[in-house]
Every structure is written in C-alpha cells, then in structure tokens.
C-alpha cells in the first residue's frame, strides 16, 4: 500500500483585487486573467521507502506540489493523504493544522535557518515543541543528528553564519530528520550548491536513505541529479504530470514529446561539442494556459485533437504518458508523426 496518496489535486491562485480596479475593468470591458493554474488534476502515489523525483521547468507546479504535500498550501481540489490521513486540516481555504510526519528541505540554506538561533536549538525546536523527545535527552539527540549528517556534535553551539552552504544544507537535513518524519520533501535541495559540494550532499542523502529507509519527494530541475537519487520520476509541464515512469525506462526511452525534447536540450558531459536541438518557443504563462494539450504550441507532433482535447495520463506497462500520440488504441509508437 502506498504511503502518500495525491488524489486529483488542483491548485489555483487568484490575485485579490479591490472594488475600484474591478469597476474600472468593467468600464473598459476587460476581463483580465488573474487566476494562476499552478496545478491541474495531479494524482500520484509514493510507496514506503520509495523516492519519487519531480522534474520540470519554471511554472510547471513542482514546488506548489511539494508545498501541498507538506501541508503548507491547501489544495483547491483533491486531497493529499499519508497512510489514509490528511496531511493538513484546513479551515476556510487555509491550512490550520498540519502533520509533522512530512518534513521539507528548502533550496536556500541561507534563508531557511534562523540566523539568530544556534543550530542545536534550531534542530531541537521541533521535537521540543511537539514533545517528541524528553527534554533531558534533547542535547544527546542533537549531537547524534549532527554526526549522522556528517557534522561535529560540537557545532550545535554555533550560529548559521559560521557554516558554508553545504554545511547549512546538512543542518537543514538534520532539522528535518529530528522530527522522525515518514516523508521528506526536498525542493531543489542541492540546486544552490557547487558541484563538488552537491556530490557530498547527494551522497549523504543516499546514505541516510539506506540507513533510515527514507521515503521522499525529490523536486528538481536537474535531470541528472533526479536520475541519480530517484526510483520513479514524474515529468511536469504547466501544472500537469505529462509522464511518469521508473528511472531506467524513462531515461532510456522517454515517451512524451516534451520529455524527449527536454532530454535533448540538456547539455551532457563528455559528449563533446553538442549539436543542439532546442525546443522551440517559450513556456506558456500559467495565467493563460493553451487549450487542449499545454505542450501543443511547441510540439512537433501536434495535430487537431491536441489543440482541443486535454490528454489524460494513461498507463502503459510500468509507466504512464499523457499524450494523444500514445492514446490511439492501435499501439502507436514514439516519434511517429501520425497525428501531425
């Protein structure tokens, strides 16, 4: 049975406006777009012990999804449950009480640690507030967590500014682990680190995963990082999951035209001077997503059906693709332009 269930989740953000602006718009006869469709009908499951990678470009909704799973945002539609229990209790559209069983690790370790708190206090704060660890044991527990993430226990009495970016990210991981979470959400957790430091933090994550049997949602724009740490990967585009597959088949043979194009635009080490095959066009605005398949304006295989009908995420063997090319009943294969 899966640990985390994301069931038909959508999230819309609407910019509030005052009466005067609305009145002016009425006079001018405009109806401006002010609803961002950040997530549309996303359903995913994560099994205990699994790491699910979430990949996409800006505006694809990957961070919004992470925040909804962590209970920071309430979904507009749908539900997120952990072992059948909702991750957040909401009242009037905002989160009122959220689970401590999901912990988040953010991108910027310079912003996510309180600069005035000793790191030991930062790590101990959560378990103390929630009474997870008896007060006399807190100091030992902090020391154990620090050594678990590869830092000296004596560092507990230092302040964040005394640490480098990589060390701060280790502290952020220790703080998350202190809550003994069932699920970690890592949102671009290694994106701001230099590559040699990134390797150290990725190794730490893999060690912890093995030792603690972690379950995690690993959100990143970096395809090679996600490949390295994930079991399965969901590719997102403009608020929807367009492809979902185990790592090996996905990277060996991506099925969705967007996934294919994304993989083709990533420069790879050791392949010499590349002949680039960039995706044409820009990412559409989530304020005004195109009708039908959101990728159709940039897709080389787009046909009439793609402009009107939204493709559903349909399972094929161990994987799922949301593309009309793969939803023809006649066993359509990749790369053919039958729909063109």
């Amino acid at each position: 049975m899966s640990l985390l269930t994301i069931d038909h989740v959508s999230k819309r953000f609407t910019r509030p406006t005052g009466a005067i602006v609305r009145g002016l718009e009425k006079l001018r006869g405009q109806t401006p777009k002010r609803t961002v469709h950040a997530l549309t009908d996303v359903s995913l499951e994560v099994a205990r012990g699994e790491v699910l990678g979430i990949v996409g470009e800006s505006g694809c909704g990957k961070s919004t999804l992470g925040r909804i799973v962590a209970g920071i945002y309430a979904p507009s539609d749908g539900a997120v449950t952990l072992d059948g229990a909702p991750v957040a209790r909401e009242s009037r559209g905002t989160v009122d009480k959220l689970t401590t069983r999901v912990q988040m690790i953010h991108q910027d370790p310079f912003a996510s640690l309180n600069p005035r708190m000793k790191v030991g206090e930062t790590i101990a704060e959560g378990p103390r507030q929630h009474g997870l660890i008896p007060a006399p044991d807190l100091r030992d527990r902090v020391a154990a967590l620090l050594s678990q993430v590869g830092l000296e226990p004596a560092y507990a009495d230092r302040l964040p500014h005394q640490f480098s970016g990589g060390q701060r990210q280790r502290i952020a991981i220790a703080r998350a682990l202190a809550m003994q979470p069932d699920l970690l959400v890592l949102d671009e957790a290694v994106a701001s680190l230099d590559v040699s430091i990134q390797a150290q933090v990725l190794n730490l994550f893999l060690d912890l995963r093995r030792d603690l049997d972690l379950t995690a949602l690993f959100i990143s724009h970096d395809l090679s990082v996600v490949r390295h740490v994930s079991d399965r990967v969901a590719i997102m585009y403009l608020g929807r999951v367009v492809e979902l597959a185990p790592v090996a088949p996905l990277y060996d043979a991506p099925q969705h035209p967007y996934t294919q194009a994304l993989f083709a635009s990533v420069p790879r080490l050791g392949e010499g001077r590349a002949r680039f095959h960039p995706i044409k066009g820009e990412i559409p605005s989530p304020l005004d997503p195109p009708p039908g398949c959101a990728f159709h304006p940039r897709c080389p295989f787009a046909g009439p059906r793609c402009r009107t009908e939204v493709p559903r995420l349909k399972p094929h063997d161990s994987r799922a693709v949301a593309c009309h090319l793969h939803d023809g009943g006649t066993g359509a294969t990749t790369g053919t332009s039958e729909a063109a």
């Binding site: 470009e57 800006s58 480098s164 990589g166 060390q167 230099d194 590559v195 040699s196 430091i197 990134q198 390797a199 150290q200 990725l202 190794n203 893999l206 724009h221 395809l223 090679s224 990082v225 490949r227 390295h228 740490v229 994930s230 790592v247 090996a248 194009a261 994304l262 083709a264 635009s265 990533v266 420069p267 790879r268 080490l269 050791g270 392949e271 010499g272 001077r273 590349a274 680039f276 095959h277 960039p278 995706i279 044409k280 820009e282 990412i283």
Partner: protein, 322 residues
C-alpha cells in the same frame, strides 16, 4: 593570426580587513576569433572577477595589480580611462547573469539599444533602430519590431537575455565576456541560447569567453576550457581533451562529482573538504589539503606543466595516454 583576446599574467587583488586577497592570480589565456573559451570554476574561484578585470570593471577595494589584456593586439590596461570607455561595448562587450543589469527598466528595448549604438557611432536614430532590429534577428528573436517597442518587464527571462546578447553584438565586438548568462534560465531556454551563441561565434568571428560553473554546459559549447581554482587557472586545453582526460586532480574531481557520469544510486566520488578561503590559502598548491596525490613537494609553488596545447598547474599531474 592575432588572438582576439590575449590575457597575460592578470592579477587582481582586494584589500580587505583580513589583509590583501588575490582573487585572480597570474591568469593567462588567449582566445582566437570565432572561438569559445569556457572559464569554469566553483564559487569563489575567481572566474567572474577575471571577466570583470578584463573589462576594467573592478572597483575599490579591488584593483588589477598586474598583467596585460590584449584585444586584437592592443593592451587595454595601458589605455587612459576615456579611451577604455570607447573600447567597452565597441571592441569588448559583456553579458551578465542577470539581464536586468544590462537593461534599463524604464526605457523601451529599442531606445536603449539605439542609445548603445549612438554612443560609439555617429548614425541617425533611425539607422540605430535598424541596427537594433537586425541584432535582435541575429539572436533568433521572433517579431523583432514588436520587441523593440516593449519594455524589459514585458519580456520573459530568456527573451531579456537574448536582448542583452543582441546589445553586446551591436558593434560586432572582437570579444564578448559572458558571465553565467544561462544560469538563471530553464534548460529548454538555455538550449536555445547555447545554440544561438555557438552559431554567432561561427558566423561573426566574435571570440567569446563563457564564464560558468556548469561543466556540462561548457563542455557542449566551448572549444577550449580553463579550469580555475582559488584564483588560478589550474588546467587549460582543448575542451574535449580536458573533459575526457583531465590532468589536474581538481579537474578530475570536479568531473567525477557530476551525477550523470555514474550509475544511478551509487556513491559519487567526492572532493573532500570545501573551497578554501582566499584570505587563508595554504602555502604552495592551494588544492593540497583536498588532494589525494599531494606529497611534501606540494608545499612549494606548483609548476606549470605544458604539453600539446595543454597546461596543468601541478607537481603530480595525472598521466594521459599520448
């Protein structure tokens, strides 16, 4: 053939409370017309300061203390400030990581590009706008006429960066210094810009110095690579050779840290420790405390080993098959 850009012994120091810090230490390289040189390094390696030093954009407490910067044979460092200003934008241009450092938010794209034309060339406003339009076409911007009328905030990040690149191209400079120009962009947009830049170097003969922390980007774009560590170039050579067969232990470590070069889920080989503080560098080789090949010899200044178009700053360079 004269190199478009030749840098010899460039040294830049910053006077800080903790004492003088040498951010760029005896850096030398050259780039031929139409070639792209990738300047790679991690945070604090001095790669951006090198770019700024070339253009004479270092401000107090920093100061370029030595070396030559020859653009088409002319030493920029010997020029008086007003002549240097005439060189900037005309012979040497810069593209920044954040295009809003180049673009004025309250001027139309066309107005500010035309201004950049008229600063150096006595042409009519109309001719200047025409040049701006063709520069936008060169970098693959669709409907350039409309973009000229737009304000920077009306453009996407990728589009703004193209405008910044087009502005750098206005005077067909001999050299463009590009400082992390695609770092803030999405991969699909980065792919488009890399393709345009490669084509521009080939077509216009402009030499490009591409400063980046991203080895994969540099290896897919550049002809030559210089790897910087603690203010020095520790390895340089043809891009394919440096990536396929690194000779400096730091370059090897850097390449090995990239996840895509390993089977998923395995441990990544990591460089121990972290990048050193420039104010407290160890004596001799700055990489010594993190290096598995270090010996007692490394306490002395590392020698520059040069062979077959490659240089390595190391007492114990890795052997490569000839």
């Amino acid at each position: 053939m004269t190199a478009a850009l030749q840098v010899r012994g460039l040294t830049t120091r910053f006077d800080t409370r903790a004492g003088a810090v040498t951010a760029v230490n005896d850096v030398s390289f050259s780039v031929d017309p139409g070639r792209i040189m990738g300047l790679v390094g991690e945070s604090g390696s001095g790669k951006s300061v090198t770019g700024f030093s070339i253009l004479g954009l270092i401000e107090a407490p920093g100061r370029v203390t030595g070396g030559e910067v020859l653009v088409e044979g002319q030493d920029l460092r010997a020029l008086p400030p007003d002549e240097m200003r005439r060189m900037r934008g005309r012979k040497v241009a810069m593209v920044f990581q954040d295009p809003m450092m180049t673009l004025n938010p309250v001027l139309r794209v066309g107005d500010q590009m035309a201004m950049a034309v008229q600063v150096h060339d006595r042409v009519s406003r109309r001719a200047a706008w025409d040049r701006a339009r063709s520069a936008l076409e060169t970098v693959g911007i669709p409907a350039p006429g409309e973009r000229l009328m737009a304000y920077p905030h009306q453009l996407s990040g990728g589009m703004r960066q193209r405008v910044a690149i087009a502005t750098a191209l206005l005077h067909q400079p001999a050299v463009i210094i590009a400082d992390e120009p695609t770092t803030a962009l999405d991969v699909s947009i980065q792919g488009q810009i890399l393709a345009e830049v490669r084509r521009l170097a080939d077509d216009t003969g402009t030499a490009i110095v591409w400063v980046s922390h991203d080895l994969a980007v540099v290896s897919s774009l550049a002809d030559e690579i210089c790897v910087m560590y603690a203010g020095r170039i520790v390895e340089s050579g043809p891009a394919e050779r440096v990536i396929a067969a690194p000779r400096h232990p730091y370059t090897r470590g850097l390449i090995a840290s990239v996840p895509s070069s390993h089977a998923p889920g395995g441990r990544l080989p990591q460089i121990p420790g972290s990048t050193p503080q420039l104010s407290s560098l160890p004596a001799g080789c700055p990489f010594r405390p993190r290096c598995d090949r270090a010996t007692d010899l490394c306490v002395t200044e590392p020698p520059r080993v040069a062979a077959a178009g490659r240089t390595v700053l190391c007492h114990h360079p890795l052997e490569v098959a000839p």
